[in-house]
């Protein structure tokens, strides 16, 4: 890939790491395990809009790997769960963009991403614990909490993408 693309993707990954670390330092307003603001999704959204699914997956992978190294949870349970949610969300957003892109603005994509993120995390958690009982308790609550956070991050991403300087040299499909 050309150097502009590479540089931009790297910047996005770096911002994703920074947002992830920022979020980890904030006190959690919602005491549900797995409920989080998902600020890093802003970056993934931008990556999806600019460069498409495959490159967005690279950004997500880099973000999860590197931020887990900094936090110290690399290869731990939190890392795998975060990775499952992150990759699921990126895939969902990327495919959503490709299939529904003309109908859906970034905000709707973000809601899809937040939902997929929660589903991915819960799914892996259920597999690890070995019991489906987790799903009953947490699914409705996480889905409900995911909606406002998805909307919020979507609105932020939308505002960023609409700024006058935010044009990509090459845009994704």
């Amino acid at each position: 890939m050309d150097s502009t693309r590479l540089a931009r993707l790297s910047m996005l990954a770096a911002m994703g790491i920074a947002l992830h670390l920022l979020e980890a330092s904030l006190p959690n307003p919602v005491p549900l395990p797995g409920a989080k603001l998902g600020l890093a999704n802003i970056v993934v959204l931008i990556a999806v809009v600019w460069y498409g699914t495959r490159d967005a997956l690279k950004v997500t992978l880099a973000r999860c790997l590197l931020s887990s190294l900094v936090i110290g949870s690399f290869l731990g349970l939190a890392f795998w769960i975060s990775l499952a949610g992150g990759l699921g969300a990126t895939l969902a957003m990327g495919l959503g963009r490709r299939w529904l892109g003309s109908h859906l603005s970034v905000v709707g994509l973000s809601v899809i991403g937040a939902t997929a993120h929660n589903l991915g995390q819960l799914g892996l958690a259920a597999v690890v614990i070995g019991s489906g009982a987790v799903l009953w308790y947490y699914l409705p609550l996480l889905l409900a909490v995911g909606v406002p956070s998805g909307l919020a991050t979507g609105l932020v991403a939308k505002a960023l993408l609409e700024r006058p300087g935010a044009t990509a040299a090459e845009s994704g499909p």
Partner: protein, 138 residues
Amino acid sequence: MSKFRGGLRAADVAITLAVIVLAIGAGLAAWLWGPYAPSAAAGDGRVVVVRAEGQPVLTVELGPDLEIERHDVSGPLGVTVVEIGPEGARILESPCRDKICIRPAPINNPGQTVVCLPNRVSVEIQAGREPPFDTVSY
């Protein structure tokens, strides 16, 4: 295509509403068929242990076929009536002053307790078999 305030499109609102409906649906499903339902909870060997003055005086295994029975437990203040049935266990009457122990909903999950402290009566649900994990950390 239609635009709402803020540049949102119809599909965005549709997706958001769909997820909210999904959440409500999952919540309803969990309420009706999930582990909250007493009939789902019973039958795995969990046991009601009733103690007076710290000593177990009554042990009943919970199950869906259990008949509702009242048990009288004597304590320093008088008789506490414990009702055990398929929905779980609860205290019906007690000679204490505040009657905090008399809850409308029965307990049926391991670790739950109802206690009448003045009359030294405790009702506890114990797990029948060991859970598959020792602890959970985040």
